[in-house]
Amino acid sequence: MSEIVAAEIQTTHIVDLARSGQRIDGRGLDDWRPVTVEPGFVKSADGSALVHVGASAVLCGVKLETGKPFGDTPNAGVLTTNAELIPLSSPTFEPGPPQPTAIELSRVVDRSIRAAETIDLTKLCVAPAEKCWICYVDLHVLDHGGNLIDTAQLAALAALTHATVPAKRFGVGEADYPLEVAHFPIECSFVRLGDRIVVDPTFEEEAAGQGRITVATDEVGNVVAMQKGKVGAFSPDEVVETVERAFQHGDRLRAIARAA
């Protein structure tokens, strides 16, 4: 049986299940897989978190260094997010420079963090136009079991939430202090399976899906970022539906990320 045929059969099966409100792993259409958050997993980072969402695992490490502010934002520090889809994590990833999927992943996570003003970048300024903190958020995908965006975003948020500014090490203060986190955006992704829209898709559901939509919400009722991805389309009503669902999941996940 050719790969194409096999994939088609699996897609049909997954879509048929969804039509009757079911999923291959037994979840309901609006259920997440189990989520675990281990902050401080990596001692060499200034902040870190290992997040599992079902079979997916992403390790985020935050490092802070001093550097020069950008010319157009002399009073602000710099936040930069990078994702590596290392071939360890999936048979479909290859070594080499970041591919569009990795770039989209890092940019969508970055957008939620940035748009929500998670970190007040002006507080990362040390001396205007001279010196500031550069905050690197590095996402290391370890196991690709689907829904990497949400897994990675949760890891980034948890790593930032538990990060320390190494002021002493860089000679810009007497003591290290916790990085201040102002907002807590949570990204929540859905895929279309036929006429149904399911949350937190597995690897197989993503492959079978006809369009993905990611909605980032903050803790005070704002949508702060969205991204429609993959081949497929959503009606405005469907978009509004995913936004409602994202707000609900957001509250629960936010509690997990902050408590961990």
Partner: protein
């Protein structure tokens, strides 16, 4: 949006509800379309939209390159969105940066959602978008130009794909932001619509919108897309009438 440490914010909306360039909140910038400006491409279109200038070309269906990307049951779609070094205020280093690669990806996926790729297995449909002058909304202008170039190339599609960005300016939802509005605005939401199905094939958003504002932004965007759709069909009709006319003239000669 919310550029940290940015300069003083200009007055984006005046007492009469007019925007920085005199437009109303639901008004588009002027759009002019030229179909088939290029000779080598299988299809092409040039779009001037406000102060944006965007060229798009389509090649294909043609041989897949590199070969290992070939799919046996359908055509692959490859879109490359690129900005000319001189298209922005501060010169951009040539080549695709991460932003351009992300935009290339979401535009590719938008067109894969409407092109009848299964009609051309083992081939590639290559879409090239070149931003020659940029002033906010280039990805939407690129989508519109590319959509027209696809039509010009005769690629079978479910529909044309109009696109527009909606934003939030001085606390109000506004259509088709220009650069100053985008820099100092509170939200940006580009989208692309398939008019016949009423569904969105591209949707991104960044900023702050509450539930009500989001609904309003989606509705305003859909209305804007439908207006652009009319302009796109008009341009194609004019082109084919001219071409038809020319052909008739030739036939008569």
């Amino acid at each position: 949006m919310g550029s940290v440490g940015a300069k003083e914010v200009p007055e984006l909306l005046n007492a009469e509800g007019r925007r920085i360039d005199g437009r109303r909140l639901d008004e588009l910038r002027p759009i002019s379309i030229k179909i088939a400006p290029l000779t080598r491409a299988d299809g092409s279109a040039f779009v001037e939209w406000g102060e944006n200038k965007v060229m798009a070309a389509v090649y294909g269906p043609r041989e897949v390159h590199p070969r290992h990307l070939m799919e046996t049951d359908k055509a692959i779609v490859q879109c490359r969105y690129n900005m000319a070094a001189f298209s922005v205020d501060e010169r951009k280093r040539p080549g695709l940066d991460r932003r351009s690669q992300e935009i290339s990806k979401v535009i590719t996926e938008a067109f894969e959602s409407v092109i009848f790729t299964e009609e051309f297995p083992k081939t590639s449909i290559d879409i090239y978008i070149e931003v020659l002058q940029a002033n906010a909304g280039t990805r939407c202008a690129g989508l519109v130009a590319a959509s027209l170039a696809l039509a010009d190339a005769g690629i079978p599609m479910a529909d044309l794909v109009p696109a527009v960005a909606v934003g939030k300016v001085a606390g109000r939802i506004a259509l088709d932001l220009k650069k100053e509005e985008d820099n100092f605005g509170e939200a940006d939401l580009p989208m692309a619509l398939v008019p016949q199905s009423g569904r969105l094939v591209l949707l991104q958003m960044e900023g702050h919108l509450n539930r009500g504002e989001l609904r309003e932004a989606l509705d305003l965007g859909v209305t804007g897309c439908r207006e652009i759709y009319r302009k796109m069909r008009e341009a194609l009709r004019a082109r084919y009438e001219a071409a038809g006319g020319a052909e008739e003239a030739e036939a008569a000669a």
